[in-house]
Symmetry: none
Subunit: 193 residues, 4 copies
């Protein structure tokens, strides 16, 4: 059965339109930056009516959140190499590359930026972007606790802040490149070796 393109029906939205909007928003963000993502532009690029966008997303931020959440899982799988040192040594450069070099990372940074301007965005940004990312971070540390590599009394949340804070700081504030040397030092420092 060749699924023909449909233009709306009784039971729910057009998945085709949804995906076209998410892709268009993503593309525009990467090509022209956050200000270049306009509802009109997304609609035109996606070949979709503005109203279709407004029907499903309250604002362009919601589109980007949707776009980010959709693809995040595929792009950043934390390693499981058997030792915390190896895992972190591998994972931190991966995370840095994800944040600075991928389209997903561009969306993350745009949302982080918008979160500074709008408290409501900040809430959604944390719930839908930061929390899932930290879940990956936590996974690594919790495996190490199970293996006995870390003290069971460790406050994992604080540990994540201390381990990854410097990395995010460079990404979002100084713009300094994140070298292997830098991440290795962070790991060494964290492990206390």
């Amino acid at each position: 059965m060749t699924k023909t393109r449909h233009h709306g029906n009784r039971h729910g939205r057009s998945e085709e339109a949804r995906q076209a909007v998410l892709d268009a928003a993503d593309d525009l963000l990467v090509e022209r930056g956050f200000a270049g993502v306009t509802i009109e532009g997304v609609a035109a690029r996606a070949g979709v009516a503005k109203q279709t966008i407004y029907r499903w997303w309250p604002s362009k931020v919601d589109i980007l959140l949707d776009a980010f959440v959709g693809d995040m899982n595929e792009e950043l799988t934390p390693p499981d190499l058997g030792s915390l040192a190896d895992d972190l040594t591998t994972y931190l450069p991966m995370l840095a590359a994800f944040l600075t070099e991928t389209d997903q990372g561009a969306v993350f940074r745009a949302l982080a930026g918008q979160a500074q301007h709008d408290p409501a965005v900040a809430v959604r940004f944390r719930d839908e972007c930061v929390v899932p990312l930290r879940a990956r971070d936590r996974l690594l540390l919790e495996r190490a606790v199970e293996r006995g590599e870390l003290d069971g009394d460790l406050d994992v949340e604080v540990a994540i802040d201390r381990l990854l804070g410097p990395l995010y700081y460079r990404v979002l504030v100084t713009g300094e490149p994140i070298t292997r040397t830098f991440t290795d030092e962070l790991v060494r420092d964290f492990l206390g070796t």
Copy 2:
């Protein structure tokens, strides 16, 4: 001397208008957020013509940069208590309060946000906001080097990243409150005690 409000003159700008614009921009940012800072709004609030703003500032970001730089010095003086441990234990909460609770901090966060959206803003943000702030951080560490409390080979820039990165991460990303416990642990960890 009853200085009557003047409407321009041959040589040089009106300091009165300049200050009114900076104040209005600051107020609007705090009251209504970054999107609420419009040139028209600032002009109206400052009792100034739009053209007067455009004559001196290329964009609203430049106004905010101007406003931030002008008052920063007054608000955040690093302590000099004789020992690095004391200095840092005092300074980190000061910095956290500056970033999260003052109008200056609101401007910093707004500019950090906008820096994510616009590379040109990012450059100016780093040069005019981040660099001066880091100069304060560096001052503390360099004094400690002079006192022999820190190794002379220390890469101060990286040290700042590791010491303050977690703090900025909480401010800009997780929104988690920065407690005294948290800063004390950062200091303890940094000093390796």
Copy 3:
């Protein structure tokens, strides 16, 4: 026979839906004016799907034409009092009241208005509204011809224009109220007495 409301069947259109649409259009026209008659509004008011309207009427004008034609016969029956003078003296105020005070008249005026904007509407308006109304006018005059009260050579169409033109002019152009004095004068003038 408990005729349940049906939602489509294989035996032709729903008369119930048809009447609901015509009534809703009429009501909306009277309540909110021509611009207030939207297909969506009519559908909602009639409890009918938009598509059901589009299936049977090409545009809202067609709905109004349908509504007008349907009820016209009941509202304006020309008198037959035995003399042209009496007939006209009675008929002109009736016609004026029909045009200015009844829902049917409101529909007529709306269609007349729309006829000014759209030549296609103009054609249908004349065929379906003006011609039937003039048939009533003509009836009176032709009866008078048969009775010998009017010259058989009279161009009846032109006569109608001259007799009723001033009345329509007031209705559609000046908005001046049509008094008994005015219609009586028109009749007197027409009869040349």
Copy 4:
């Protein structure tokens, strides 16, 4: 002094923009009908920003009223041939041609149409279009009264209705062409000869 094109200044509006809007509205009305006159279309055609239109005209009807009033005087000057019979015999075909064949007439008919849909438009239409046109009509009759060709007791307003009503009726309702024969008969009938 060659008046340079200006883009707004302290002392009021751009006459250039005003005229461009009126012309564009007029052109669009003639080319595409009333529904084809959209604010966006007028703005695009006139090379003007939408806001410039909204600044000066509340609605498209106001633009058309403005356009009609501006040019009316040039297009329809009642004759003064010395006798009422000659004046009317000349004037009625002129008026008919004005209403049915000129761009001004198209605007008049469009406004008359819209007046049927909107009472507020009706008021303005009468004040700004009908009254000035009737002033021309009245002029002819009042000159005849002065010359003693008409009874001084004549109710001029009613006389105009009776003389011109049939003409407007054909223009707005039946669409029947207005021949010289028809106007001559109207004049003859009116003069009672």
